[in-house]
Symmetry: C2
Subunit: 343 residues, 2 copies
């Protein structure tokens, strides 16, 4: 079987070659060999149209600083021997608490001017998972997803039922006003005006946040959290809380967190497909994420990106948008924070 | 590449051999060759502990008759040149309107004594999909899922937002009392008493309904509809509305509809995984469904089953429970209706 895998590997390698430019995540190196396992950590803060110069230098610095803060907090947890699940939750909570990203505090508004939050988390060791959708009052949806995974027999809870479960389990509950930010409200009013002119237009930026981790015990975990799309239809659920679409983790393959036009990620089962390409075709992680994002997703007409990590700590990042807020720990143990495509 | 696929095929074939008994779906023959494509149709009405003798002869006859009615209605639609999507919707509506199955009219009650319906549908040609969850007032959730797919830019709508969308699109709205049936209420009260003694016990029967179809244009479709688990937590969503878990369709591979302990089906991404095994390992459909249901699902501790059909009309059925309500059109164009494992 080993010989066969190698054969498949090279066959796929030969046919799926992509240029550096196409890859979107070309800056990522394979970090180490199976003989040298280590901890690894990657976070993202969404993908979309982020052309150079569209952010003020101050704003750009804020984004970079917050991404690095979340990255280092998760990495430190891993260094201290905490689990991949802990690292993912810690980093995502930091991004949720920031008004910069479309998750938690910085969530965008739905068509009826409310916030509706979704999140999910998955443990690659046990394949246990937790997901929540349609949340209005829970400060950190990623923590609620983890509580669903660990303290209920269920994987997914939605709406009021999920919020009751949050209260019962002592999570931080906030007034929906907590999620109001001036920037998001202005964005809502701008999109509202545009939509009144033109129906079904998609938003140009996906601010979902996510993290993937490999801990020192060899376990993988992935998590994702979002406020959805600006001006989305009330009740609309994207890929973030869909295990297999926005989030997947399996110790045998990889951990994946996605961001992008959620409907396309659901239809392709993006995160699950990346795992399947590694399991059934023995693709290296960067090739697996590129095949799904640069070929399958593009072909279907969707856009967005993913971060992924495999059981050896190799990192895969791919996006077909102009930019993606992303940060990872490189092979020297140093943080790398990136926004633009050509960085 | 062709040679390689053949190699992989035989390698997998050799290692995944299962005895007739293990397969659960051993009665199914591969229906025809790629050279002779045809229409094909399969329905299910749930899997679970259905030992021979547990149903009265009258009840058993009722189940068989209703399954055959749904099967023949979908098959007739296909014969008349209607689409796979039409056939799936037509058959599932019949099962939803029957009090016998845990979907629509016959839905079970949640822990707080309500019904909460989920459904999804997917078009293998376009990979478009529609899903709804947490529905209380829509008579036929499968039709709402189709309307979400065809008349919204979204894949998934939940709760009140989904119901508003149903009203806007003129679907049949019913008083929640419509879903009250004596049998389900007694089942609820029985489970409630048991649960008060013993927490987190799982239900022994999964009454989800579903259908998969191949139409004369070579297009595949799959659909699934459910009332969830008796005494489930308010807001709990199982695999039925999760594209890739309970439902998947892709013209390149197969259409799949699942029934069972939903949490396990989500964690494995069952429907998407079956499609991946066909796409990446060239497994024949019966081997793909058996590998996931008899090996992966069992290993994880879950139970249930799937029906599937490939682009040539070959059928795959597999379940690891004592029985599964299922019906399909055989190679002579005749209906076959089965309930027990050893039938």
């Amino acid at each position: 079987m080993k010989k066969l895998s190698t054969l498949i590997f090279f066959a796929i390698f030969a046919i799926s070659g992509l240029s550096q430019k196409q890859r979107g995540g070309a800056e990522i190196k394979q970090l180490q060999s199976p003989q040298n396992p280590r901890i690894g950590f990657v976070v993202h803060g969404g993908a979309g149209v982020i052309p150079r110069g569209s952010l003020t230098p101050e704003k750009e610095a804020e984004y970079r600083q917050k991404l690095e803060e979340a990255l280092m907090a998760g990495y430190k947890a891993l260094q201290e021997g905490k689990s991949a699940l802990d690292a993912v939750e810690i980093a995502i909570r930091i991004l949720e608490d920031s008004p910069l990203f479309n998750a938690g505090k910085g969530a965008v508004f739905t068509a009826d001017g409310r916030v509706e939050l979704d999140a999910s988390i998955m443990d690659g060791k046990t394949l246990k998972a937790g997901a929540v959708a349609g949340i209005h009052t829970v400060k950190n949806p990623i923590s609620l997803a983890r509580v669903v995974m660990e303290k209920s027999p269920h994987v997914m809870l939605i709406g009021e039922g999920a919020e009751k479960f949050a209260v019962k389990n002592g999570l931080d509950i906030v007034d929906p006003k907590y999620f109001w930010t001036k920037e998001r409200w202005e964005q809502y009013e701008r999109v509202k005006k545009e939509r009144e002119k033109q129906a079904n237009q998609k938003t140009s930026k996906y601010g979902t946040v996510g993290a993937v981790a490999l801990d020192k015990y060899g376990n993988l975990a992935a998590g994702t959290s979002t406020g959805g799309m600006t001006y989305k239809m009330f009740g609309r659920v994207g890929d973030t809380p869909i295990i297999g679409a926005g989030t997947y983790a399996n110790n045998e393959t990889c951990a994946v967190s996605a961001t992008g036009w959620g409907e396309y990620f659901i239809r392709l089962g993006v995160a699950r497909d990346i795992s399947a390409l590694m399991e059934y075709r023995a693709l290296p992680i960067q090739q697996a994420v590129d095949l799904v994002i640069q070929q399958k997703l593009k072909k279907l007409g969707g856009d967005g990106g993913v971060i992924a990590i495999d059981k050896f700590g190799n990192i895969g990042i791919s996006f077909n948008t102009e930019g993606m807020y992303r940060a990872y720990i490189n092979s020297d143990g140093k943080p790398v924070v990136l926004i633009y495509k050509d960085e």
